[in-house]
């Protein structure tokens, strides 16, 4: 058996057993942010686009899922799908307007749009403004299975997360994913080969927005409320940190990044204001010592060990530039 398969099976077993040992709501929060971080890594890690307002999709979908549950009473999984769909449409609109810009301009435009969305959500009647949208009902799964209990609902969220991560894995390892990575590496060259890099990136942006929306919808059903925080720039920043911490452009990086940050937030909650300072210190340490993120450093270490065993070259692995760099050639 390959080590990767073994890790997958062990991880799955651990995920199944986890709610017996840990607080299910914390676990579900981690899973929601795993999906969110995956969506973000799809953009930054595999497309080279830094979206500085990713929370607009997360937050919008949270409200939309809540709205669907409160007004129509459709089953919970359909409500999440509805939230994701609306986020995807918002992604299409924002992406269409922003995708021609690159680098810092793209980041600023997406930030501007997310602030616009934030303001809209703040002013709208249906969102409850500053109070947020409260007491969202958790309707039965498929209209049949009661999931009021958090312990049971954990398995629904786990299934959705596995679905999302599988989709993310497939997108990255698809014919399209190959073109996407080529755009990230050298956009001009992709264009000279007869592709429209803008269209490739727009598809990635919409996919990412949809997945971020799924995460937001999931979170709204876990907490049974949606607040402005979900659409705030702080959440946009948090997902960037999760992705960088886990490892940019690595498949399993978002899993670890989201897990570590949410767990830290929870553990450090007792320290009050100090939590942010501790978080900052940890982040600094990661930036200095783990430039490729946890997963990036680990896989580099494995490659290095493997190379040493083969006997060629004892030089440590070179630090790669960020995914947006075009490399030396």
């Amino acid at each position: 058996m390959k080590p990767a398969h073994l890790a997958l099976i062990l991880g799955f077993a651990a995920a199944l057993a986890a709610p017996f040992y840990f607080y299910p709501v914390l676990l579900m929060t981690i899973l929601c942010f795993v999906v969110f971080a995956c969506s973000f890594n799809l953009l930054l890690g595999y497309t080279g686009l830094l979206c500085f307002g990713h929370a607009m999709f997360f937050g919008t979908a949270a409200y939309m899922t809540g709205l669907a549950l409160k007004t129509t009473g459709i089953s919970v999984e359909l409500a999440i799908a509805f939230g994701a769909l609306v986020a995807g449409l918002l992604g299409l609109l924002v992406g269409y307007l922003a995708i021609r810009r690159q680098g810092i301009q793209f980041a600023m435009i997406t930030l501007a749009f997310s602030q616009l969305v934030f303001f809209f959500l703040l002013q709208s009647e249906f969102t409850g403004g500053e109070d947020g949208m409260q007491s969202i009902p958790r309707t039965p799964l498929f209209g049949l299975v009661n999931v009021d209990d958090s312990f049971n609902y954990y398995y629904v969220i786990l299934a959705l997360t596995i679905l999302a991560v599988a989709a993310y894995y497939r997108i990255v390892n698809s014919p399209y994913g190959e073109v996407l990575k080529a755009v990230r590496d050298n956009q001009q060259r992709v264009e000279s080969l007869g592709f429209s890099p803008e269209r490739v990136k727009l598809v990635a942006f919409v996919l990412s927005a949809t997945m971020a929306g799924m995460a937001g919808g999931m979170k709204a059903t876990v907490y049974q409320f949606a607040t402005l925080t979900d659409a705030s720039w702080q959440v946009s920043g948090e997902v960037i940190i999760m992705t960088l911490l886990g490892g940019l452009g690595t498949l399993s990086g978002p899993l670890f990044g989201a897990g570590i940050i949410i767990w830290l937030n929870d553990e450090l909650a007792g320290f009050g204001e100090w939590a942010l300072i501790l978080q900052g210190a940890i982040l600094l340490a990661v930036i200095i010592f783990f430039r490729r993120g946890f997963v990036g450093e680990l896989s580099a270490l494995f490659r290095w060990v493997a190379r040493k065993r083969r006997g060629d070259g004892g030089t440590p692995p070179p630090v790669q530039e960020g995914a947006t760099a075009t490399g030396p050639g």
């Binding site: 497939r170 997108i171 698809s174 014919p175 080529a182 060259r189 007869g194 592709f195 490399g327």
Partner: protein, 266 residues
């Protein structure tokens, strides 16, 4: 100023779409008041290897970028195979078979050599947006990709990421990627720039082989490469055509000699 060497200005009224696959008529490019290219008439004969040379600042790279549609001309017309492509974009002309390379070797550093070529093959394959399928969907392209890698001598490097290839091999990979599009016209921007002596000869041979059955237009500084490779040479100076013809014709042209010597003296 423009001196015709090979009987009639190639890009003039005499040039037809029959003999010439790529024609630039009265091409002008102005950058903020400075005319980098002035009323250039250029025609590339079908099946030939054509070089654009000239001292630094002569406008050859600008001219090249106009013909490859990387830049939009201020004035004039570009005809590719009888079709006016003056208003088209890079991706659109690439689809029609006019494909360029870049001065800085343009590979996808984090992809393997095989993946680099496969991306190019995907451009005509029609699965480029299939994000829900596995990579098995593009497996039919692997045989052709390996064939192309073999052609440029990269058969053993197919699973090496492009970032790890040597400079010369990166250029070879780039040519394989360009060839994947089966271009009718291949436009090479300084294919030997920055290369050591040991790499220049193989790449020259590679271009010669790649040029079989197609047309090549290249910008090149290395005159020995130009002399062994090219059928027609256009010399530019101050954004205008100074001379055109075979290497012998051009190298014996007193204007060209002055231009190059003058360039050295400055």
């Amino acid at each position: 100023m423009a001196t015709s060497m090979a009987g009639g200005l190639a890009g003039g009224p005499g040039a037809t779409g029959e003999d010439h696959v790529l024609i630039g008529r009265d091409l002008t490019k102005v950058f903020g008041g400075f005319a980098a290219v002035k009323h250039v008439n250029l025609a590339v004969r079908r099946g030939s290897i054509h070089a654009l040379i000239g001292p630094n600042g002569a406008g050859k790279t600008t001219c090249f970028n106009l013909l490859t549609k990387t830049l939009q001309p201020t004035g004039g017309q570009i005809i590719f195979d009888g079709e006016d492509i003056s208003k088209l974009r890079t991706a659109e002309v690439a689809k029609r078979g006019l494909v360029r390379s870049f001065q800085i070797s343009a590979t996808f550093p984090n992809l393997t050599a095989l993946e680099n070529v496969r991306v190019a093959l995907q451009s005509k394959f029609g699965a480029a947006y299939h994000f829900w399928r596995s990579l098995r969907a593009v497996a039919p392209l692997n045989a052709r990709a390996e064939e192309l890698l073999d052609q440029v001598g990269l058969a053993d490097n197919r699973h090496t990421t492009a970032a790890e290839l040597s400079y010369g091999k990166k250029r070879a990979l780039e040519i394989a990627t360009t060839l994947a599009l089966e271009p009718r016209v291949m436009l090479l921007d300084e294919p030997t720039a920055g290369m050591g002596h040991e790499d220049i000869e193989p790449i020259t041979q590679l271009i010669k082989r790649a040029a079989e059955g197609r047309t090549v237009l290249l910008v090149e500084h290395n005159l020995s490469v130009v002399s062994t490779l090219c059928d027609t040479i256009t010399v530019l100076q101050h954004g205008e055509i100074l001379a055109e013809g075979s290497y012998e014709d051009v190298s014996n042209n007193p204007d060209v000699v002055t231009a190059y010597m003058g360039g050295v003296d400055e």
